[in-house]
């Protein structure tokens, strides 16, 4: 998906999560030479639909056609695809002769997915018919809807030219809920409170939950894709920093200190604006992953280094006295212990990295922050931001809990009273108790 289409998807709010691009398009059709020419068929976005037309909900359809040479149109029958409905709709019929309103009148009879319009007198060449049908429904499955049908001209039933397709989006659970909420007195009361209505508007929470979802996935995708690289890079620089070679240590120190000593925001700007200036064009999301990976790697390098250095000298000595070489000691003895020790700190860093993906919105990466910003600017309501907060918390709260649990477990096992494996016999259990 290219950048523009994502952005447009966001603007069309609800459409974003379904199709990322859902538009009610009206294209002029090439006019036929000898028939009632369907000029245009457009649908007005439903209420709460943002800029999209949602199936299954009341919408206004505007349909126009012009009579051609030889036509003498007595009636028109519009047909919607299966699932669409004109029932309970009202139709405003306008006929024009040239630019002037003609006095020809019509009578519309809705019946299921058909709408028959009979004219008081036949319409001949040069007449324009405009039908504005309010409170009609498109099929709730959504998709491209074509309005077709027949017309009677000179006593002969002819096929109507299909209209240009109207893009509709499915009437999902969300729309149902929003619709339902709209009519709840408590929601109206809630929203009449300025604070609640501005920050916690129920309809917008529901809409946002769904329409921000792609942004949330982008955030998760960026951090999940970048973190393995960050871990590997971090480990490499940590090992360089504890290396016995001065040059490696120096390189690691510069790398770590520069990245930790400058704001991520600045690093993002330098990379996102710098690379294109050098005619290097990389996809925004990929670039985001790279920047996040490099930035996190510096923090992880320090975490790993501290972890490595926290392993007591006795561990190296015990490994050495078994005849293990430096590399063997690192791989078999030091790193496994380091990993255990740094898991809580690394998890905290992961939380930070996840939240920091929000900075990428500043350079146009379509992540959660960007989606919520767009939605807020469309709706003029803060609720999308609040909902974005909920999305961040969905990830961070459980991780915060994980950190606490692991920290507790480590503290306990360092006191020497960690969980014991199942004792093979009751006697064995007692002995341990005695010994400890």
């Amino acid at each position: 998906m290219d950048k523009t289409s994502i952005r447009m998807g966001a603007r069309s709010v609800v459409a974003a999560f379904v199709l990322a691009l859902a538009f009610a398009l009206a294209c002029a059709l090439p006019s036929g030479a000898f028939a009632l020419t369907t000029g245009s068929a457009t649908a007005k976005p439903n209420e709460d639909g943002g800029s999209s037309v949602i199936g299954g909900l009341p919408t206004r359809l505007t349909w126009e056609a012009t009579a051609d040479k030889g036509d003498s149109v007595e009636s028109v029958e519009l047909v919607l695809p299966e699932g669409g409905s004109f029932d309970s709709s009202t139709t405003k019929i306008t006929t024009l002769k040239g630019l002037e309103r003609s006095k020809v009148e019509g009578e519309a009879t809705p019946q299921g997915n058909k709408l028959t319009v009979k004219f008081s007198e036949p319409l001949v060449d040069g007449y324009l018919i405009r039908l504005e049908i309010t409170d009609m429904h498109f099929p709730s499955e959504g998709g491209s809807v074509v309005v077709g049908g027949t017309y009677v001209s000179n006593g002969e039933t002819k096929q109507l030219q299909d209209s240009a397709p109207i893009e509709t989006i499915p009437n999902t659970l969300v729309q149902g809920i929003v619709n339902w909420l709209d009519h709840q007195p408590w929601v109206q009361a809630w929203n009449s409170n300025q604070f609640l209505g501005m920050f916690f508007k129920p309809q917008l929470i529901v809409t946002s939950l769904f329409s921000l979802l792609p942004g949330w996935f982008v955030c998760l995708g960026i951090v999940i894709a970048s973190y393995p690289f960050a871990v590997v890079l971090g480990l490499v620089f940590a090992l360089m920093k504890v290396s016995r070679f001065k040059l490696l240590r120096a390189i690691a120190i510069v790398y770590i200190n520069v990245l930790r000593g400058t704001p991520l925001f600045l690093q993002i700007y330098i990379v996102f604006f710098g690379l294109p200036m050098m005619n290097i064009n990389i996809d925004n999301v990929i670039l985001g992953i790279i920047v996040m990976a490099v930035n996190s790697s510096a923090y992880l390098a320090e975490i790993f280094r501290a972890g490595i250095e926290s392993i007591p000298a006795g561990q190296y000595e015990a490994a050495s006295s078994l005849g293990m070489g430096h590399l063997q000691t690192m791989v078999n003895i030091i790193l496994p212990q380091t990993v255990r020790r740094v898991i809580p700190t690394v998890t905290s860093d992961f939380i930070t990295a996840f939240k920091d993906t929000s900075l990428l919105s500043s350079v146009g990466v379509m992540e959660l922050m960007m989606f919520s910003k767009n939605l807020t600017s469309i709706t003029g309501n803060m609720t999308p931001y609040v909902t974005a907060g909920i999305f961040y918390l969905i990830v961070t709260l459980p991780l915060i809990k994980v950190v606490t649990v692991i920290e507790k477990r480590i503290a306990r096992s360092e006191r020497g009273s960690g969980p014991r494996p199942k004792a093979k016999t009751a006697v064995a259990k007692e002995e341990v108790a005695d010994a400890v």
């Binding site: 000595e317 078994l322 212990q337 010994a435």
Partner: protein, 291 residues
């Protein structure tokens, strides 16, 4: 700690004579030691450890070992006594090059280890020199069995099955077969130290160095560890150099007792000679203060 370990003597500024020729040294050492140890000498036996004029200085100033001379014979059990700070640990750590000797010679099986050694040679040497530490130094992320296996699989390149069988055998020997799957944190100090002994023994080294193996233990746990060491001395035929404060153990198990103070070996002899009839005033004082 990882870095800066250079396995050679910086220079021999200390006025130390070169190491003796092997045959000559063996004869001389035999002459000197035969009345000082209960060890049964084989004909033409060579010592397995020869320490000649060993000097160790920390930071170029603190001289911890001034002139240590000691020979240890194959299968001999040598207990090293001495007050805290006398350099016992330092001497032991010089033998397996955890410390780099400043000057002097250490020869293991007539091969000089002081001087330029490649890291690979150092690793090879250490396979042959087990070490048991005061603070156990078990690998906390591995089970008891894993601790005993890892040297065998990673250093000796034994198969997992072989290493496991050996580990279980050694854990059984130290009475901890039923703790094979426990992590160190789930074991008492005494049990941890017995696992550490099993870990050292499983490598089948010729020599095991013990640095105060019971000093960190609660009194009631000391006995179990000493029993394991005694069995190793009596049935294992293992050469053991044991730094200890356990006089009872030294008297019972040692072939020779060495008393160190101030970075030199002050006195050595059979347990009876040293304990019952110390030749030096300092030895007598030290033994008196211990009892």
């Amino acid at each position: 700690m990882l870095s800066k370990k250079r396995m050679h003597l910086p220079n021999n500024t200390h006025d130390v004579p070169p190491a003796l020729d092997a045959e000559e040294a063996a004869r001389a050492a035999h002459e000197r030691d035969k009345s000082l140890t209960k060890h049964h000498f084989e004909p033409h036996e060579h010592p397995c450890v020869r320490i000649e004029h060993l000097v160790k200085t920390f930071d170029g100033e603190t001289q911890v070992l001034t002139d240590v001379n000691l020979t240890v014979w194959p299968g001999e059990v040598v207990c090293v006594l001495g007050p805290s700070g006398s350099g016992k640990s330092t001497m032991l750590r010089c033998i397996n090059l955890l410390e780099t000797p400043t000057a002097g010679h250490i020869l293991i099986e007539d091969k000089e280890i002081t001087g330029h050694l490649l890291q690979a040679e150092v690793n090879k040497l250490r396979q042959n020199l087990g070490m048991v530490f005061q603070s156990f130094n078990l690998f906390p992320h591995l089970t008891a069995k894993g601790n005993v296996m890892i040297g065998q699989t990673k250093v000796l390149k034994k198969s997992k099955e072989e290493a496991e069988a050996e580990a279980l055998k050694q854990l059984e020997a130290v009475g901890l077969l039923d703790r094979a799957d426990y992590k160190p944190a789930q074991l008492s100090g005494g049990q941890q130290q017995r696992v550490a002994i099993a870990r050292a023994v499983a490598m089948h080294p010729d020599i095991i160095l013990f640095d105060e193996p019971t000093s960190a233990l609660d009194p009631e746990l000391v006995r179990g560890v000493l029993d394991v060491m005694r069995r190793l001395a009596e049935h294992g035929g293992m050469t053991m150099i044991v730094v200890t404060h356990e006089m009872g153990f030294a008297r019972e198990v040692a072939d020779r007792v060495v008393f160190m103070e101030g970075g030199v070996v002050v006195e050595q002899g059979t347990p009876e000679q040293v304990f019952d009839n110390p030749q030096h005033k300092r030895t007598a004082e030290f033994l008196g203060s211990i009892d």
